[in-house]
């Protein structure tokens, strides 16, 4: 099956439906171009859908996503495909043939989102949207605000009679357990790579002992703990024992600015931790917080935000890279050297947050797609070839910068499609 753009003129393919991909797709479509938008997850929104709030405004990302989803729904220039990945690319700028594959959702368009299947489903699966904290039913919506509002089935998580039970529970004949992967070809003039980022694997920093203690979490896990639709309904509790932590540590540059891991700075982690300090303060007004950092990269308008937090007498900023984290019976001890005083610091806390950085999500697949990437796996834009990268596929960036970059990418794609 081959999909042409409805108007027959050069269409744009946007790969990735996070904030960058949505922005690139919408900005191009609202100029008047035809856009195909493919997303590998069963829902749109990408990483920002997992965030509780944006810095420095502390506003919920779902607010902007709701507007963007509304723009997608009302714009017939955009065709959207979830659970879909690019498999191969042929051709050249102006006339690419892109082969895509849609994984089976096992739920068809009859789904009304009523949830009767999930209510009836006896099996559960690990909740990957919540980074393994908590479970969902084997047939699930990734999160309450997920768009499209359709269920998805994790067939591998089903045992015994489950498939029959959930099929019986659905009044609308929406569950198709025999659904097969579907391949199709898109003819497009230009491709915007908005494939985003993955959190750097915290187990790779062996000295930080991520896998050895429930009291060590990543900053993305902290986002889910603080989110009202997260595994704890917005309470910040220690995974494992659900204890209210009485003290916290932030380990900055967990993997970033480190030639053994990520040589670049991941751009967002300082502000992300500042933001997460406000999450903690809202729930635990007096709890001591220790931030171990190399530099606080809160430039420009973020300085005011930082100033407010630094005025808090129970929040302590220590310039020093963390050397070791020692798991204890109840919590962990963070070990670092204060770079200014030269003192060795050993700080026991109940919950330790690793400010892990970002790694380009396309890194492993880039070569097989013939994409030009830099030494760290970020996609290098080549406008002449109609291959444009946007947001964190291009470089580590925050949401504002990603949206700017995606808007710029939309224009470069339009130029290539002319």
């Amino acid at each position: 099956m081959t999909e042409q753009s409805p108007s027959g003129t050069g269409a744009v393919l946007v790969v990735g439906g996070g904030i960058s991909g949505l922005t690139a797709a919408l900005e191009a479509a609202e100029v008047g171009n035809d856009v195909f938008l493919v997303e590998k997850n069963p829902y749109m929104g990408g990483r920002v859908a997992q965030l509780n709030q944006y810095f420095p405004k502390l506003c919920p990302p779902s607010c902007g996503l709701e507007i963007n989803f509304k723009r997608v729904k009302s714009n017939r220039k955009i065709r959207m495909y979830t659970m879909t990945q690019v498999k191969s690319i042929k051709g050249a700028a102006g006339s690419y043939e892109v082969s895509c594959e849609t994984a089976p959702r096992y739920v068809n368009n009859n789904c009304t989102g009523c949830g009767a299947c999930a209510d009836a489903c006896p099996d559960e699966r690990v909740d990957d949207f919540n980074f393994g904290m908590g479970k969902t039913k084997a047939i699930y919506r990734p999160h309450e605000m997920s768009f499209p509002m359709k269920y998805v089935l994790d067939k591998g998580a089903c045992s015994g009679d489950t498939l029959r039970i959930i099929k019986d529970a659905c009044k609308y004949d929406a569950i198709d357990t025999e659904m097969q992967p579907k391949t199709f070809t898109l003819n497009v003039a230009a491709i915007v790579w908005a494939t985003g980022w993955n959190p750097y694997d915290p187990t790779k920093m062996t000295n930080l002992k991520y896998s050895e203690s429930d009291a060590i979490i990543t900053n993305m896990q902290m986002e889910r703990l603080a989110a009202p639709n997260g595994p704890t309904n917005g309470q910040i509790l220690r995974p494992g024992d659900n204890k209210e932590p009485k003290s916290f540590a932030f380990v900055q540059c967990a993997g970033s600015r480190d030639e053994n891991h990520l040589e670049y700075c991941s751009y967002i982690c300082c502000m992300a931790s500042m933001k997460q300090i406000t999450y903690i303060r809202e729930r635990y007004p007096e709890a001591p917080i220790y931030v171990f950092y190399i530099d606080l990269r809160t430039p420009g308008k973020y300085e005011k935000f930082r100033e407010k937090l630094m005025a808090d007498k129970n929040t302590h900023f220590i310039k020093g890279k963390v050397a070791d984290i020692i798991p204890e019976g109840d919590g962990v001890t963070v070990v670092a050297e204060n770079a200014v005083t030269g003192d060795k610091v050993k700080q026991k806390v109940d919950l330790c947050v690793l400010a892990t950085g970002m790694e380009p999500a396309i890194k492993a697949q880039a070569a097989s797609l013939g994409l030009e990437v830099d030494s760290n796996g970020f996609v290098v834009s080549n406008a002449d070839k109609g291959m444009i990268s946007a947001g964190c596929a291009n470089k580590a960036a925050d949401v504002v910068t990603s949206a700017q970059s995606a808007t710029a990418a939309a224009l470069k794609a339009i130029q290539a499609a002319k």
């Binding site: 609202e30 009044k171 609308y172 670049y264 420009g300 470089k395 949206a403 970059s405 808007t407 130029q415």
Partner: protein
């Protein structure tokens, strides 16, 4: 259009079990409809029922009472020549029921929520009757040329990129040459791996490309006197740089000031200038504007301990760059770069820095080293700010033995001999520092031109400058994280140094994006549709001027300055500036402003369609007008999370709380409803309203209506407003219950039944 109605009540997704379907049908019948029911109108069989009515009976106005209007848009889209109205009886009736308890039986709950759904069905029917098919607004003449103000990297990039997409561009540059600040650079930051070497300036090539581009007109030593008009039809008057013109943009004159000027109590600040509404026949026409007037170096003389101004050996980074360019580094063997002015007091960078100054210091340290192999550079920072890939540049610099980098609190710079002594504490060396250097360079920030002047020079009723500049210390930046190009002046986008201190790479991205937005604004104006956030909306406010009393509320309150006015104060709409929030409609005391599918009469009639029992004290009725972007989804989500929503409340989504006309509140209370609450976005400095001012304005109006109610003998507490974020789904049921309890405490509306 002659409307032929078809009403459809879905019984699927639990609606049929949770509610009394016969009663739902009778609610629609009471509105003159003959509704059909089906257990899934969204499915193929259900849709076929509707499509058959369209084909066989000529139904063109479809009333679907089923799930929330937020879902199933495709399924209930029957084409551009059909109207679809949605009644939300799933999320906001069937799915949000209370659990049966000792005090409330299943039957009672079913009765209450059936009444909720009946009201939503009645409202949907009334809405269908009152709505009209939109007709897009078309400008008489449409211009698709872009005006770029500023000929630095940002402006030149915007021009080049827009031209490459096929659009004509005019670049206006105040000075005699294109290139801006970049003309003074000796070298640039690296932009590619391995990020180790500085790069020869590229500005020359960019200038040549723009000057040689047939689609781009360049006007040097020229300034914009004023810009009037609207997207698709801006009218720009140019003048020689620095000259005065009778066409200079008039200062803002508020309603009160106008009065005082008329009475001779105040001098007219615009004396000698053409009225803001006057059309200059010699002006040039543009479709959109990109503001890229950049930045000016910040003054650092206020930091007396650093000696700038008094000590000739203390210079700014901009001055140092000039020295290098002019080859004046001879004899300078040691330079200290001071990044933070706070000494021991605070560790912030100089104001208006962003991360650019950290990188500039690294670059300039390299200049020092390249000029002389035995020269030394000292970079004294509190926080080295090299985000993203710039970290690799920083790492490369650290390899140079002649560049010393340390965290330090610089407490004093003193003149000494031919140079200076820099005193610093809290260093990484474990001791206080005293550095003897030939020169000290301060990392002065980049102040946006919009901090100092109106810059954009609009001839608008609301004044010549961007609004809310103070929120960002003068930067003309967007207040929305997800929507970085938003301004309150439609069709005008900012990029580069006017909105943030940024490096060249960032500026190029930013300017390319701004060019896209400018193109998009023109194309949307050409199609007659709105831009963000109601992208694609074909409706626009229409005015019934015969009844206008020139109260000027709409012109004052429009968050986007869409309305100008004439001498008498009669508003002059500019539909292509309009974002369709309806704040003007909410403002109008004469109720003469409305959209094809959204009018004061429509919502008023929907409110009156709510059945208010006049003899049942358990069945009070409370109106909730709800922001459709955030609070309304939060209500849907509350239902999905199996919270109950109070059965005494009727929710009506509105475009923005700014569009809420107080007539609706009066309609509700005069028809016997017992209270009214507005649910909208957070306001204040961290506002979340997509239309910037809507919720804030609504809150003020509600304060005022409280007084009106008081004079009628009704308690002002019957009206309230609450700020709800989209993620407040777990809180909103309680917020509503608390309000209902307060109303129950006040007792029924004494006007009930009159």
């Amino acid at each position: 259009m002659d409307k032929k109605y078809g009403a459809y009540i879905c019984t699927g997704c639990g609606i049929g079990e949770a509610l009394d379907v016969d009663a739902l049908v009778s609610a629609a019948s009471g509105q003159g409809m003959q509704p059909k029911t089906h257990e899934a109108f969204c499915g193929a069989a259900g849709r076929q029922v509707i499509e058959a009515d369209i084909a066989n009976d000529g139904v063109n106005t479809v009333i679907v009472c089923a799930c929330s209007p937020r879902v199933m848009q495709d399924q209930f889209n029957f084409g551009d020549d059909k109207i679809t109205i949605r009644g939300n009886i799933r999320e906001q009736a069937a799915w949000c029921r209370e659990q049966p308890s000792d005090s409330k039986s299943e039957d009672t709950i079913k009765e209450y929520y059936t009444e909720v759904a009946q009201d939503y069905i009645r409202m949907a029917c009334v809405q269908a009757k009152k709505t009209d098919m939109p007709e897009p607004f078309k400008l008489e003449t449409m211009n698709k040329r872009i005006l770029v103000m500023g000929g630095g990297i940002a402006g030149l990039t915007a021009a080049k990129e827009a031209a490459k997409a096929g659009y004509e561009v005019t670049v206006v540059e105040k000075s005699g040459a294109l290139g801006g600040k970049a003309l003074g650079w000796t070298k640039q930051f690296p932009t590619k791996a391995p990020y180790s070497e500085l790069v020869a300036p590229t500005i020359g090539a960019l200038v040549a490309e723009v000057e040689g581009n047939a689609k781009i007109t360049v006007k040097k030593t020229t300034e914009v006197a004023r810009i009037g008009g609207a997207p698709g039809n801006f009218s720009a008057t140019f003048k020689a740089a620095g000259a005065k013109s009778e066409w200079d943009a008039p200062a803002k004159v508020g309603v009160d000031e106008q009065d005082r000027i008329a009475k001779g109590q105040m001098e007219d600040p615009n004396a000698g200038l053409k009225n803001y509404m006057e059309e200059n026949p010699d002006a040039e026409k543009y479709g959109a504007v990109v503001l890229a007037t950049g930045w000016v170096p910040a003054d650092v003389s206020a930091f007396e301990h650093l000696g700038y101004g008094a000590n000739s050996k203390v210079v700014t980074n901009a001055e140092f760059e000039k020295m290098v360019k002019e080859g004046k580094l001879a004899g300078i063997k040691s330079v200290a770069f001071v990044q933070s002015p706070g000494g021991e007091e605070h560790d912030m960078d100089f104001p208006y820095c962003n991360s650019v100054t950290s990188m500039v210091a690294l670059k300039q340290a390299k200049y020092v080293r390249e000029a002389s192999s035995d020269a030394k550079a000292y970079i004294l920072y509190q926080h080295m700010r090299t985000p993203g890939n710039m970290e690799m540049f920083y790492k490369g610099i650290q390899q140079d033995d002649g560049i010393f980098l340390t965290k330090a609190s610089v407490t004093k710079v003193e003149a000494a001999g031919n140079g200076c002594v820099v005193h610093a504490k809290d260093t990484l060396l474990g001791e206080d520092l005293e550095l003897d250097v030939d020169l000290v360079v301060l990392a002065a920030g980049m102040e946006p031109t919009t901090k100092h002047e109106a810059t954009i020079n609009l001839a608008y009723r609301q004044g010549p400058a961007f609004l809310d500049l103070d929120l960002f210390d003068g930067y003309s930046d967007s207040h929305f994280i997800c929507f970085p190009y938003e301004t309150r002046r439609t069709g005008i986008y900012t990029c580069g140094g006017v909105r943030k201190a940024m490096n060249m790479e960032e500026t190029i991205d930013d300017a390319t994006g701004a060019a896209l937005k400018a193109i998009q604004a023109m194309e949307c104006a050409d199609r007659g549709v709105a831009v963000h956030p109601r992208s694609g909306d074909q409706t626009y406010p229409e005015f019934f001027f015969q009844r206008c009393t020139q109260c000027k509320r709409c012109t004052e309150e429009c968050p986007f300055g869409a309305l100008d006015d004439d001498e008498k104060g009669t508003p002059k709409p500019n539909p292509t500036r309009c974002r369709r929030c309806g704040t003007c409609m909410g403002a109008c005391p004469e109720r003469i402003i409305g959209f094809k599918n959204y009018t004061i009469d429509m919502i008023g009639s929907m409110i009156k369609a709510i059945e208010v029992p006049d003899d049942d004290e358990d069945k009070l009725r409370i109106l909730a007008l709800v922001c459709e972007n955030d609070a309304y989804p939060a209500l849907d989500m509350a239902a999905m999370r199996k919270h109950s929503l109070n059965a005494l409340v009727r929710f009506i989504p509105v475009r923005c709380l700014g569009s809420v006309n107080m007539a609706w509140i009066k309609d509700a209370l005069s028809s016997g409803m017992d209270g009214a609450i507005l649910l909208g976005c957070k306001y204040g400095d961290d506002y979340q309203c997509h239309f910037v001012k809507g919720s804030e304005i609504a809150n003020k109006r509600m304060d005022n209506i409280g007084e009106t109610l008081g004079s009628l003998g009704l308690e002002p507490e019957r009206c309230a407003m609450e700020q709800i974020a989209i993620t407040d789904y777990d809180k909103v049921p309680t917020i509503i219950n608390d309000f209902v309890e307060k109303i129950v405490g006040l007792g029924p509306n004494p006007f009930k039944g009159f």
